[in-house]
């Protein structure tokens, strides 16, 4: 069997005299490649955990100055509100469009608000706000901190007696965890308004029936679970993005890669944490309200 295989970063497969690469060599190269990837992955997770631990130690030791906190709260929270509101509105309207024909077919279109509002408050609002935060703020944080790393500004902070994690990471983390609930509420609210507007004004569903059924659909625990999850999303975005910035490779390519990886890893972790927290929150909900399990 004669194959032409090119492997990067691997020891060259041992070639028999005829120059061919055997299946055994390919398997060897494959194991080496995946083994290295697993080791690197575990090392990176450990490194991120240490980075987060140092940040938590600073939070409980000494908070940053008020001016530093306010700047970050404004840039991360206030400036994200318009884009979260806009995307929330569209998601509410899209849900109305997608659900209408199924509900109309069985004559339940006046119940459209239940599915729109429940989907938004429990799932789409927090995930959408977190995704927008990761895209708008997470990648910007990685790019800013990465540029500071490359231009030695982070070293300059250290030489002037300021700890870079305390000065740069703690305010960003606090801004993310304290303001993502507000962004989530904004996404929920604008989605509900968007869904209502499209259902009543465009799809011509009765206004009073839509509102009545909407009110019945969402319970307080739904709102709580959405906001509770968002805090974890915000914290994860801040830690991953700041870590990427701090470990940025030199050059324009390094900064670009840090910004991209900050968004990609944050987004993957948002969905992973979402799954994990949904399982836990469902267990808590059914423990608190056993009747809910019977309904489902």
């Amino acid at each position: 069997m004669s194959l032409s295989v090119s492997t990067q970063n691997d020891p060259a497969p041992r070639r028999p005299e005829n120059g061919s690469v055997t299946i055994r060599d390919m398997l060897y190269a494959w194991v080496v490649q995946w083994g290295a990837a697993v080791v690197n992955g575990v090392a990176t997770v450990g490194d991120i955990a240490l980075f987060a631990w140092q940040m938590l130690v600073w939070i409980f030791t000494r908070l940053p100055q008020r001016g530093t906190l306010l700047v970050n709260f404004y840039q991360i929270g206030v400036l994200s509100l318009p884009v979260v509101a806009l995307t929330g509105t569209f998601i509410g309207m899209v849900l109305a469009v997608q659900s209408y024909y199924q509900f109309h077919a069985i004559g339940l279109e006046s119940h459209l608000g239940v599915v729109i509002n429940t989907s938004l408050v429990r799932e789409l609002g927090p995930v959408l706000a977190a995704t927008m935060l990761a895209g708008r703020v997470g990648s910007a944080m990685a790019a800013v901190l990465g540029t500071m790393r490359v231009t030695e500004q982070i070293d300059a902070l250290t030489t002037m007696g300021a700890d870079p994690i305390h000065y740069l990471v703690v305010p960003r983390f606090l801004a993310c965890i304290f303001l993502i609930p507000a962004l989530t509420i904004m996404a929920d609210f604008m989605g509900i308004v968007g869904g209502y507007f499209y259902s009543v004004m465009v799809l011509d569903i009765d206004h009073a029936a839509y509102l009545t059924h909407s009110r019945d659909g969402v319970v307080g625990f739904d709102l709580f679970s959405g906001i509770f999850k968002s805090v974890f999303f915000g914290g994860m975005i801040a830690v991953i993005s700041c870590y990427q910035g701090f470990h940025c490779k030199p050059g324009a390519e390094g900064v670009g890669k840090a910004a991209t990886q900050a968004f990609v890893y944050s987004f993957v972790m948002i969905l992973a944490i979402d799954l994990f927290l949904n399982i836990i929150l469902d267990k808590i909900y059914f423990a608190m309200y056993p009747a809910g399990a019977n309904i489902l």
Partner: protein, 267 residues
């Protein structure tokens, strides 16, 4: 603490530094006395910047001891190291000014970080130090991106000396500047030394800077090209002695001659 260590502001013994998987510094032993101005020269990649970052605690040594004023820096906790660093001033190669801040906030940063001085006192000190490096008060509201390379370097010097440190470290202070601005920076380094009782370490490959500003020159050589058991510091002495050094590699560097290196690089 030994007697010899007590006499020196910086005492480095058998220092080895591996950085990003590469062995950069090998068995460096150097002492710098208070008030001295030492130029560290050598070709690119010889480890002079790593040496400089190690003595201010930015890169941890792999082996060996590093004492500042008798204190072993590698044995200090992060808060204690932070306190010691307040006795250092550091001028970065590209100034490393915070581009999100104005020039005023950049120069005021060390005071705000490390002192309880009020706004009036900070304002007065910032203007005084900007004036010392030849910058007018009108620059304080500008951003670093609005200044030329030479002006940014001067702001970097003002920021480094605002806390009147005992040790000022300059990383390639004249690199990328025109000859006149390079001489202005050389004069400013001499002026800092005249005004304040500082010890200076200047990492440079500009021989004019080394000869004009320093009392003593250390020449490093890339570790990969050293013979076995050969010391990495090829020259340690006054700048006037560089030309008469017996080692060809030192004279070749001082005169800026490619010599055998051209053959080694181009094959």
């Amino acid at each position: 603490m030994s007697d010899s260590a007590a006499e020196h502001l910086i005492d480095v013994q058998h220092l080895h530094v591996d950085f990003h998987g590469q062995k950069i510094l090998k068995d460096i032993s150097v002492s710098i006395e208070a008030g001295e101005t030492v130029a560290v020269i050598g070709e690119s990649g010889c480890g002079k910047t790593v040496f400089m970052k190690t003595i201010v605690g930015l890169i941890p040594p792999t082996r060996g001891t590093l004492r500042f004023d008798g204190q072993d820096l590698s044995a200090l906790s992060p808060p204690a190291l932070s306190d010691v660093r307040r006795r250092f001033g550091f001028v970065f190669q590209n100034a490393a000014l915070f581009d999100s801040m104005t020039i005023f906030d950049n120069v005021a940063f060390p005071m705000r970080q490390s002192t309880t001085a009020d706004d009036d006192e900070i304002h007065e000190r910032v203007l005084k130090h900007l004036q010392e490096v030849g910058l007018p008060p009108t620059v304080i509201s500008k951003r670093p991106s609005e200044l030329s390379g030479g002006m940014r370097k001067r702001v970097g010097i003002a920021r480094a000396i605002i806390l009147q440190p005992e040790l000022v470290v300059y990383d390639e202070p004249t690199t990328g500047l025109d000859p006149i601005m390079s001489d202005v920076i050389n004069e400013l380094m001499l002026d800092v030394r005249r005004r304040y009782p500082v010890t200076s370490v200047i990492v440079t490959h500009d021989m004019r800077t080394a000869q004009k500003v320093s009392d003593r020159v250390l020449m490093f050589y890339p570790r990969a090209r050293l013979a076995k058991d050969e010391p990495q510091v090829l020259y340690d002495g006054p700048p006037a002695g560089l030309d008469q050094c017996e080692d060809d590699r030192v004279r070749q560097f001082v005169r800026g001659e490619a010599g055998q290196r051209l053959m080694e690089i181009t094959g």
